[in-house]
């Protein structure tokens, strides 16, 4: 026996041991795989031997090979064999191999259960030790279930060496077999007070981990942990306990008050950075800010971390700082200097952290300075990823909260322009969208922006080294659009037009080319306008010729969009040229193509407009084209033959006086609007009147910086300018204050000093149109916010002009009705017609853009309703007028022939006028013309007819309706008394024209004038409201609504929306509301809710009106 073992050992000496294997691998660097495969063959032979020593050696080698990435799962059983060896030497190797190679799906694991149990109860603590260590790596739910009890017993083992291992492994067991937690917990808790510190710390570890997953079960242990925390000196344990408290405090806020003292003590006293960091983090995460000075202490300690030369501490300091920033930006802002320093750090991860912090630290005062610093870094940045990160951060920082911190938009535009010089950035579209956004929303900046964009277009070749791949050429999209849309501000439009039509443009991506083409047309229109006044007509003709020469390049474009736009515009220009040769003035009509101002729209605006009943947005307007048709037939031929499609450019002329009046009204309104950043009149002046030497832009020659294009602005100069502007403002302010002080000095002895400039003192040089996202429909609080001001005179609704009369004046309209044949050439030439219609009323800017695409036989009509408004107030009015319940859906034959909806609105300035807007929609396949609208007048209400016509004559509807088209007409009614609702009977006569016949048709309808439609939403102050009620002039009435099942704010919104009320005040489930009739009656409501019952107490100086309004409210809620 002995001989055999010795022989085995001697044999073993000739085998390769682990060291030989490692050495062999190192010596066979070229053919490692081959060498290892021979080794594995050897190992397989060794594993077949009976000698356990040989097997263990083989398994040890396999463990090494496993680490190198070779599959050893085939040897799993041999590993189990070695594990079961009675000798510690081999057992140790077996368990190591198992812990490295086994995982949950290794099937031999289930064979190990009994072996492990045996080892756990071994008298040798090291046998137990390796078994526990191994188990911690490959414990499965089955093993956990079978061995939980054994391990639990080991928690009370006599040797601390085993106890601590058993305690730690219990955590893994709990994870795999949660049922074991309950029986094991009491013993685990005991271990918190184990005499051995190792066991104690193990128990703290496990409970801390458990508590992080489910804190509320461990609240009861808080006193015990508190004792440990104050008594322990082991930093490792302290960190755990503090972490545990971090998890418990949110559940038991009182803990925080108790903890803050030991925590601050630790922060003050500890020299261990890990502990300090843990304490600071816990204070931040737990929001222990109630304690005086805790915030300052944290920030101060973090500053020390950030100032440390150790990169790790710097990084963590910044990380924790950003957490404080979220809740207390002010306290971090004072360390701006330090954060800016970190931007210079060699370590990119630290710079990125610092960038994150900067985002929250900017203010109006320091924005320019910070961005200037970032721009320097952009120039220096070596890697594109970091540079792109900088770029997005700059834009994020500047654009945050609606450009809140930007005081000078010329500066911002120049920053954006400077950023375009970055080569190879991915963020061209980001810069482009910023340019567009600023140019559209900041009206004052347009002149400047247009000039900059023109320069960009002129130097486009500098931006577009490598056209397709280069993301920066996206900015040309913005540049072209801005130059086109705001072309009236261009200094040299001819040059820009030329730049936009260069042959090189054809190498740009398709969508950019399309914008180029479209905006070249806008520019062309502007140029025509300026040239037509001249006596020399050749200039205008030259411009047309330029277009005709250059556009064919785009007509050939492979991009469909470019091709379509180009060929459409080319034909248009050709036609214009023909007219020019006949000395016809065309500029005005060409300009009408692009008339109307584009304004910002809130992203959610469209969603807020209710879809009218019966309108299916997904349904086809026309039959979809069949596939075969479009392929078989030639599109051109079809186009020439097809019936001309009517699209009516409707625009209303506004005279200069009216414009001035509206401008004044808007200014007045903006002054009252808290969302408007007011323009400081002095700012612009400073910029213009400051011809100091330092303001002359000097082109710096700095070869490390990308070439600067002459004429492009230097953002730096604005920093100086801004500084001066502020100084001047400050000086003016001081002057004023001095005056004030002088006045006051006589009265009081000491007065406050003006002190350093505060954030509020800095006024922006330009104002931004801020489109608020939320509209009152969903949020009553905001309704109140907008409306709780008395109506200023300038805010009153202007008189709606009679649409019918106005529309008839439009020249295009005339042409339309005159003679269809005379218009033939024009219609043929226009493949695409764009129509912009602008409702010129002060507070309703509903813009409708229609593109009509002709494609084979089918017409796709895309109608984009772009609703936009400047302020919430406007939005509200808009909502009121776009009422969802178009009550007067007229039945019967209307459904088949045409469909009408109408809306009735009172006119505030004339107490006896009501405007009814009717939308006519032609639903049949025939052409409708000669429509006449007539209403049988009652004693009370009369349709306003043009002078000279009789009391029974109808009004001609000023348009014709091709199939599927709808249009709106407005009719003015004079009303004597508004206290009663009334119905008016009317008829609509029209001619239905088919290909072969035309018939005269007649439709009867009823117009329902509700009392609500005489009410005008009028905001009211609560004190004015109170006075009104106290006056005693009002008579009361009340109504109860049962079974109203909706949130209170919805209910209020509904009353506001349907019945034109505004909320004066809302307290819990009670609200007061106000509205006014067109004849000046006050209507006051007190709405209370309890459960499903709503009671409305109302007061009004006209009881009949009140009764009717209440009835209508009741009806609204009975319908839902």
């Amino acid at each position: 026996m002995a001989l055999k073992i010795v022989k085995g050992s001697i044999d073993r000496m000739f085998d390769k041991n682990l060291q030989d294997l490692v050495r062999g691998i190192r010596n066979h660097k070229e053919d490692e795989a081959k060498y290892i495969s021979t080794c594995i063959d050897e190992i397989k032979q060794e594993l077949k031997q009976d000698n356990i020593a040989v097997k263990a050696n083989a398994v040890c080698k396999l463990t090494y090979l496993q680490m190198l990435g070779y599959d050893v799962s085939w040897a799993a059983f041999n590993i189990v064999e070695v594990m079961s060896s009675s000798k510690f030497t081999y057992k140790r190797i077996g368990y190591l191999a198992a812990s490295q190679c086994f995982h949950e799906s290794t099937d031999v694991i289930m064979l190990t259960t009994n072996q492990i149990r045996k080892d756990l109860s071994s008298p040798n603590q090291y046998d137990t030790g390796v078994a526990l260590t191994g188990l911690s790596c490959f414990v499965t739910p089955d093993l956990a279930r079978d061995l939980a009890n054994d391990i639990m017993t080991l928690m009370s083992h006599t040797k601390p060496y085993i106890r601590k291992k058993a305690v730690l492994i219990m955590y893994k067991v709990f994870l795999k077999y949660p049922e074991s937690l309950r029986p094991a917990f009491p013993r685990l808790k005991e271990k918190l007070e184990d005499p051995d510190p190792g066991v104690q710390s193990a128990a703290v570890n496990v409970i801390c981990e458990l508590a992080r997953r489910n804190p509320k079960n461990y609240l009861s242990l808080a006193p015990l942990f508190f004792k440990l925390m104050t008594s322990s000196t082991n930093n490792w344990v302290l960190i755990k306990i503090i972490k545990l408290f971090g998890a418990l405090t949110p559940l038991e806020p009182r803990l925080g008050k108790k903890l803050i003292e030991p925590l601050t003590n630790l922060i003050h006293s500890t020299s261990a950075m890990s502990l300090l960091y843990e304490c600071v983090n816990t204070v931040i995460a737990g929001q222990y800010w109630f304690s005086v000075g805790s915030k300052e202490l944290c920030v101060q300690k973090l500053r020390i971390l950030i100032e440390d030369s150790d990169q790790n501490l710097k990084y963590l300091g910044l990380l924790a700082m950003s957490k404080i920033l979220k809740t207390h930006p002010k306290s971090v802002q004072s360390h701006k200097d330090l954060i800016l320093q970190c931007l210079d750090d060699k370590d990119e991860s630290i710079r990125l952290r610092a960038l994150d912090l900067l985002y929250g630290m900017v203010s109006k005062k320091n924005l320019m300075e910070i961005v200037k610093k970032l721009m320097l870094h952009v120039d220096k940045a070596e890697g594109t990823t970091y540079r792109d990160e900088l770029l997005t951060k700059i834009i994020d920082i500047c654009s945050q909260s609606n450009y809140q911190y930007i005081t000078n938009f010329e500066w911002y535009i120049s920053i954006l322009v400077e950023l375009t010089r970055l080569e190879g950035t991915r963020h061209g579209h980001l810069i482009a969208s910023q340019m567009l956004d600023v140019a559209i929303r900041v009206k004052a900046i347009r002149v400047f922006a247009v000039a900059q964009m023109a320069t960009l277009l002129d130097n486009a070749h500098l931006l577009t080294g490598n056209m397709q791949r280069n993301g920066i050429c996206e900015v040309l999209y913005a540049a072209a659009w801005i130059c086109g849309e705001f072309s009236e501000h261009l200094e040299n439009p001819m040059q820009t037009l030329e730049a936009m039509l260069r042959p090189k443009v054809a190498t740009l991506p398709g969508h950019i080319q399309a914008v180029y083409v479209q905006n070249a047309a806008k520019l062309f229109a502007t140029i025509l306008k300026s040239q037509e006044g001249n006596t020399d007509s050749t200039a205008a003709q030259d411009t047309s010729q330029l277009m005709i020469d250059r556009l064919p390049l785009f007509v050939q474009s492979a991009n469909l969009e470019v091709q379509e736009r180009a060929s459409c515009i080319l034909q248009l220009v050709k036609y214009i040229q023909k007219l020019q040769q006949k000395d016809v003035e065309v500029a005005e009509e060409v300009n009408a193509l692009f008339a109307g101002e584009l304004n910002p729209v809130a992203p959610k605006a469209q969603k807020k407009v209710p879809v009218p009943e019966g309108l299916d947005l997904d349904a086809w307007i026309n039959e979809p084209p069949s596939e075969s048709e479009s392929e078989d037939e030639q599109p051109k031929a079809i186009f020439a033959k097809e019936e001309p499609k009517h699209s009516r450019p409707r625009h209303t002329e506004v005279d200069e006086k009216e414009l001035a009046r509206r401008r004044e009204a808007r200014k007045q309104e903006q002054a009252n609007n808290p969302f408007y950043i007011k323009a400081s009149p002095s700012s612009q002046k400073v910029y213009q009147d400051a011809p100091g030497v330092e303001h002359i832009p000097v082109v710096q020659i700095d070869l490390s910086v990308p070439l600067k294009v002459p004429g492009l602005p230097m953002s730096d100069q604005y920093v100086k300018l801004e500084e001066e502007r502020r100084q001047k403002e400050r000086a003016e302010k001081k002057k004023k204050e001095k005056k004030k002080r002088k006045e006051k000095r006589s009265g009081r002895g000491k007065k406050h000093d003006s002190g350093p400039e505060s954030e509020e003192d800095i006024t922006p040089a330009h104002q931004v149109d801020i489109v608020t996202e939320e509209m009152p429909e969903s949020n009553c609080a905001s309704v109140r916010f907008y409306l709780s001001r008395p109506l200023a005179d300038s805010e009153k609704l202007p008189v709606r002009s009679h649409r019918a009369a106005e529309a008839a004046k439009s020249p295009a309209e005339d042409g339309e009705t005159e003679n269809a044949t005379s218009l033939e050439p024009k219609k043929k030439s226009s493949k695409e017609k764009r129509e912009k219609k602008k409702d010129k009323d002060r507070d309703r800017k509903v813009m409708v853009k229609c593109w009509i695409h002709h494609w084979d036989c089918a017409f796709f009509v895309f109608i984009f309703f772009c609703l936009h408004f400047l302020t919430g107030n406007d939005a509200y009015h808009l909502l009121c007028s776009c009422k969802s319940d178009f009550k007067g859906r007229l039945n019967g034959r209307w459904e088949t022939m045409s469909d009408t909806v109408y809306d009735i609105q009172g006119n505030l300035q004339d107490g006896s006028q009501v405007v009814v807007s009717v939308i006519f929609e032609n639903k049949c396949d025939s052409f409708l013309k000669s429509m006449e609208f007539n209403v049988l007048d009652s004693l009370n209400s009369k349709l306003q007819r043009p002078e000279g016509s009789g009391p029974h004559d109808g009004l001609t509807v000023p348009f014709q309706l091709p199939p599927g088209v709808s249009n709106e007409a407005r009719f003015v009614f004079t009303v004597q008394s508004i206290v009663m609702p009334q119905k008016l009977k009317g008829t609509l006569t029209f001619i239905v024209k088919n290909e072969d016949s035309s018939t005269h048709e007649k439709l009867d309808f009823k117009l329902h004038f509700t009392c609500t439609s005489y009410l005008i939403t009028t905001p009211c102050y609560s004190d004015a409201f109170a006075k009104l009620l106290e006056s005693g002039d009002l008579k009361g009435s009340s109504v109860r609504l049962e079974g109203v099942n909706m949130p209170f704010h919805h209910l209020l919104a509904r009353i506001c929306f349907h019945h034109h009320f505004s909320i004066v005040e809302r307290i819990d489930s009670c609200a007061s509301m106000y509205s006014r009739s067109i004849q000046g009656h006050h209507v006051c409501l007190l709405v209370k809710t309890s459960g499903q019952t709503v009671s409305i107490d109302a007061k009004c100086d006209e009881p009949t009106l009140l009764g009717n309004v209440l009835d209508e409210i009741k009806q609204t809620f009975s319908q839902c």
Partner: protein, 153 residues
């Protein structure tokens, strides 16, 4: 705390030791190892020791030609992780007597035994260096004894 895994690899990207405290398939382990080795080696020497990777935090430190790299969870303390790494290096140093990469390559099972005495299931089980070394020495003694016994018999 509870580490997810610990990796030791050389400057050349060769794995020297791996310990996984979360059950993962071999394929996943290899993928993670490859990705992390690349990321860490790409970092410049003066950069800080922490990086965010997937939903974990990676803490690494270089000692001579070896990188020690640990993965911890989001709320865990980076600095104490660095201390644990350092403590492990100290233990290796004491055990091998100024440890070098070759020691770990040729005695890789010893390196594992020391790690297993120091960390269990990803958690530091013993904060005292002396106790860890004592346990290792005694276990080694047991092993030697047995081998001796074999030869004597």
């Amino acid at each position: 705390m509870f580490f997810s895994f610990m990796l030791l690899f050389s400057r050349q990207g060769k794995l020297r030791l791996q310990k996984w405290y979360v059950p993962l398939s071999d394929k996943e382990k290899k993928k993670i190892t490859r990705e992390l080795v690349q990321t860490v080696l790409a970092r410049k020497p003066k950069m800080c020791s922490f990086l965010e990777w997937r939903d974990l935090k990676i803490v690494y430190k270089r000692y001579a030609s070896l990188y020690f790299c640990c993965a911890i969870e989001d709320q865990d303390n980076e600095l104490i992780t660095l201390e644990i790494i350092h403590r492990y290096v100290e233990l290796l140093d004491k055990y091998f007597g100024s440890v070098c990469e070759l020691d770990i390559i040729f005695n890789f099972e010893k390196a594992y035994f020391i790690l297993d005495e120091f960390l269990l299931g990803g958690e530091a089980q013993e904060t005292s260096k002396k106790n860890v070394l004592k346990a290792i020495e005694q276990a080694d003694l047991l092993q030697e004894e047995k081998i001796l016994k074999v030869y004597i018999n």
